[in-house]
Structure formats: structure tokens, C-alpha cells
């Protein structure tokens, strides 16, 4: 049977690379955490979710300004250490636990500034921690299967909710997304609208591509590799055109789990 450990290390390494960039980006926005910024501490404290408030208060010293700088620096350091350790051997459990815990605090603090990719990264890291902490001989295997299932669930959900809407199928929504400054780029919008059918076909490629990619972990290895390569290309193009850079790391981190699952299901 294929050993799970190298695949788990690859998941942790890619995830931590994303966590490293994510924390650097937050550090770049340090002014937003100051008293006049949009991520002002007192604003974060007014959150409605009751269960979060005690955690925020408990870690107030590192979540409020200027303590947040220490927390962000710790995230950068632990992420970097995870990347280095994953390259050369198993990631120490304590280091991974620190990386996940700091990431969790940051997500609680900046939840409204984070997107689905950040949450996917957070879930992947937490699942790796559960797999590493568990003493079970099959913990790594179970963890990687779980990540494969999450990956499939993500692609399938994303595709199904789009298929169900006629404006996704006819390309209108894709055109309108690229018509925004937030997610669009002028050149991409012009390419998409240069011919009447282009947006419709581009939209369908996205939808059916996502639908196919959800099968990657459960396909024979050569099919899985092909699907994941297409998915990687898709995420890179989304990162380049829409500026959603964290999606590249969030999903790429789960790809080793998909390869592992495929190799276990279709040995030889």
C-alpha cells in the first residue's frame, strides 16, 4: 500500500506556503488593524456570534493592535518552518498545532476579510493536525481520504449551484463578474465579450470542468493527474485574472491527497 506520510507532508507544505503569503498580505495591511482602520479591534469585538466573543477576549492581547503584529509574525514564522520541515521530513506535531491555532485566531479576527479559499486552507490544515495528532496507524490515510472528499465536495457544490442557474449557463454572470473592478480585468472582459458565444462557452467550461474535477480523487492515477493539471491551470488563470491568489494554494494543497486516494484505489 502507498505510504501516506509523504503525501501528508506535501499537503502541509503547500498549505503552509499559502498561509505564509496570506499572513504577509495581512501584515502589509497593518494600518487596517489600527484604531482608524476597517479591521479595528472594537469593531471585531461587536461580532454577533456569541461563542467567538470569549475566544476574542481571551486572546485580546494578540488580536488587538499592536499585539496583532506579533500574531502575524508568529504565523509567518510557523508557516515558514512548516514549509521547511515538510521538505525534509515529518512536520513536528507541536509546530503544526501552533500553525493551525494561530491560523484559527487570525480567521476569527479577520473573518469578513477572508474568502472561501482561506477557509478551505484552514480546514485542510486542521485536518492534517487531526491526522498527525491521532496515534492510529491509518490516521494519515483516513485524513487524506477526508481531504479528497472535501475537494470533491467543493468542486461538485460549486458546479451544481452554477448549473442550476440559467444566467450561469448562458454566460451572463461570467461576463458581469469580469465587468467589475473587484474581480475583473478590462482585457479579460473584452476578450470574453468580443464574440457573442464566447462567454457562454467559457462559462460552460468552468461549470463542467468543476464537475469533472470532483471525480479526480476517485479516478485512475493517469486520469486524476490530467484532471488535477486542468484544475491547477484553472486556479492559476482565476488567480491571474480575478486576483484570487489564495485559491491556487488552497486547492493545490489538497491535490496530493487526491493523488494518494487515486493510487490507493487503483494500485499498480
Amino acid at each position: 500500500m502507498t505510504a501516506a506520510e509523504p503525501f501528508l507532508r506535501a499537503v502541509i507544505g503547500i498549505n503552509a506556503a499559502g498561509g505564509f503569503i496570506s499572513a504577509l498580505e495581512l501584515l502589509r495591511l497593518y494600518r487596517a488593524f489600527q484604531n482608524e482602520g476597517l479591521f479595528f479591534w472594537k469593531g471585531a469585538q461587536l461580532r454577533r456570534r456569541r461563542a467567538v466573543r470569549p475566544i476574542l477576549n481571551l486572546f485580546r492581547s494578540v488580536l488587538a493592535w499592536p499585539g496583532i503584529l506579533a500574531l502575524l509574525s508568529s504565523r509567518i514564522a510557523t508557516a515558514l518552518a512548516c514549509v521547511v520541515c515538510a521538505c525534509f521530513g515529518p512536520v513536528p506535531t507541536l509546530l503544526l498545532a501552533a500553525y493551525v491555532a494561530i491560523g484559527c485566531l487570525l480567521l476569527l479576527r479577520t473573518h469578513h476579510a477572508a474568502d472561501g479559499a482561506e477557509q478551505f486552507m484552514h480546514i485542510t490544515a486542521a485536518a492534517c493536525l487531526v491526522a498527525v495528532v491521532s496515534r492510529g496507524s491509518l490516521a494519515g490515510e483516513i485524513g487524506l481520504f477526508f481531504l479528497s472528499a472535501q475537494l470533491s465536495l467543493a468542486y461538485a457544490t460549486s458546479a451544481i449551484v452554477k448549473i442550476a442557474h440559467s444566467d450561469w449557463r448562458n454566460g451572463r454572470f461570467l461576463t458581469e463578474i469580469f465587468a467589475t473592478e473587484t474581480f475583473g480585468r478590462r482585457w479579460a472582459f473584452e476578450v470574453l465579450t468580443a464574440r457573442p458565444q464566447r462567454a457562454k462557452w467559457a462559462s460552460r467550461v468552468v461549470i463542467y470542468g468543476e464537475l469533472l474535477c470532483c471525480l479526480a480523487p476517485w479516478s485512475p492515477p493517469h486520469v486524476a493527474w490530467a484532471l488535477l493539471a486542468a484544475a491547477a491551470l484553472f486556479h492559476i488563470s482565476v488567480g491571474a485574472t480575478m486576483g484570487l491568489n489564495m485559491f491556487v494554494f488552497a486547492f493545490a494543497a489538497a491535490f496530493p491527497a487526491a493523488i494518494y486516494t487515486s493510487r490507493v484505489l487503483y494500485p499498480g
Partner: protein
């Protein structure tokens, strides 16, 4: 002992996966799951579906001067345009994301017609706090902010005001948050 550990691991991941599947069934999570998932371990994977964001939001403010005159609207640009490096490095996207969430939550709250709650919402107070810290027009007495939306990258100045805040008196020593 090891078998028990494997069983426990499988149980944890199995429950986690079931919760994740339940989370995908509706746009908003069931109340019990919302309360349970306070560490954000159960995600919604509807990326841009079923109805994506198809507009940009813009923040403006203006002042009432001591002589009663109203200044022109000043556009607050919380973020710069995307660079070619956005595929690797795009910190401004977080400010954009925050502002989109704020504008949509405030818009929904305003539509519900609950003005007192709306003006005490964390987003409203955070924007007010931010706007009050921005440069003043000499003898400014009060400040108002507005959120506008645009829909076409080719004509970003084609704006529609979504709503205006009330006038807030400017106090140099105190922001909108209690000390």
C-alpha cells in the same frame, strides 16, 4: 489500542464530512450548525454561485462646515487596482472582500427598515470610525458617508448611490465606539 485510535479518527473525519455535506445543502447554514461551527471548520463551497457579485462598491464622504455649507463628496479609495502580480500577491483583495461584506450586510439591513439596529451594526460603526479619521475640510462640524455601486469596468464613474448615512457630529476626542 491502535485500532481504537483508528476508529476514533475515522469517526471524527466521518462526522466532519457529514456536517460539510449538510452545509452545502442551503446557502445559509441551519441554526444549530451555525452555532456549532464557531471555529469555521465547516465551509460553504458555493464559490460565486448561484448568484455572484456583479457590482463594485465605492465609499464616499462629505462634511457639513461650521457655516452650514455642505462640501462635495470625496471618494475614499480603500484599494488600488490589481497588479500583474495579483496571482501571487494581492493584499488589497482582503480590504475589497471586507468592504463587499460590509456593503451587502448594510444594504440588507437598510432594506429591512431597522434603522436603529443598522446604525449600531459592526460594519456601520467600523466604516464610520474609518471615515471620521479621514482628512477634514478645515471647519468641519459633521460628516456623512455614502456607499455607491457601479457595474461596468469600462465606466466606473457611472455610479448609483445605495444609501447615505445620517450626519455624524465630529468630535476630535472620541470616535463612534465607546471608550
Amino acid at each position: 489500542m491502535l485500532e481504537l485510535a483508528n476508529l476514533a479518527t475515522a469517526l471524527i473525519f466521518g462526522c466532519w464530512l457529514v456536517l460539510s455535506v449538510i452545509r452545502q445543502l442551503k446557502e445559509k447554514p441551519p441554526g444549530w450548525l451555525y452555532k456549532l461551527d464557531f471555529l469555521y471548520l465547516v465551509g460553504s463551497w458555493r464559490f460565486f454561485g448561484p448568484e455572484p457579485l456583479t457590482r463594485d462598491y465605492h465609499l464616499f464622504y462629505r462634511d457639513v462646515l461650521d457655516n452650514g455649507e455642505m462640501t462635495r463628496w470625496i471618494r475614499v479609495t480603500p484599494v488600488s487596482s490589481k497588479t500583474p502580480w495579483a496571482i501571487i500577491w494581492n493584499p488589497e483583495q482582503r480590504l475589497r472582500r471586507w468592504f463587499i461584506n460590509a456593503a451587502e450586510a448594510m444594504s440588507a439591513s437598510k432594506r429591512s427598515g431597522n434603522a436603529p439596529t443598522f446604525e449600531r451594526s459592526p460594519f456601520y460603526l467600523a466604516i464610520l470610525n474609518h471615515v471620521e479619521s479621514l482628512a477634514r475640510f478645515g471647519q468641519s462640524r459633521a460628516r456623512q458617508f455614502a456607499i455607491a455601486e457601479s457595474q461596468d469596468i469600462r465606466d466606473p464613474d457611472d455610479l448609483r448611490i445605495m444609501f447615505c448615512s445620517a450626519l455624524h457630529f465630529l468630535d476630535p476626542d472620541r470616535g463612534p465606539f465607546p471608550a
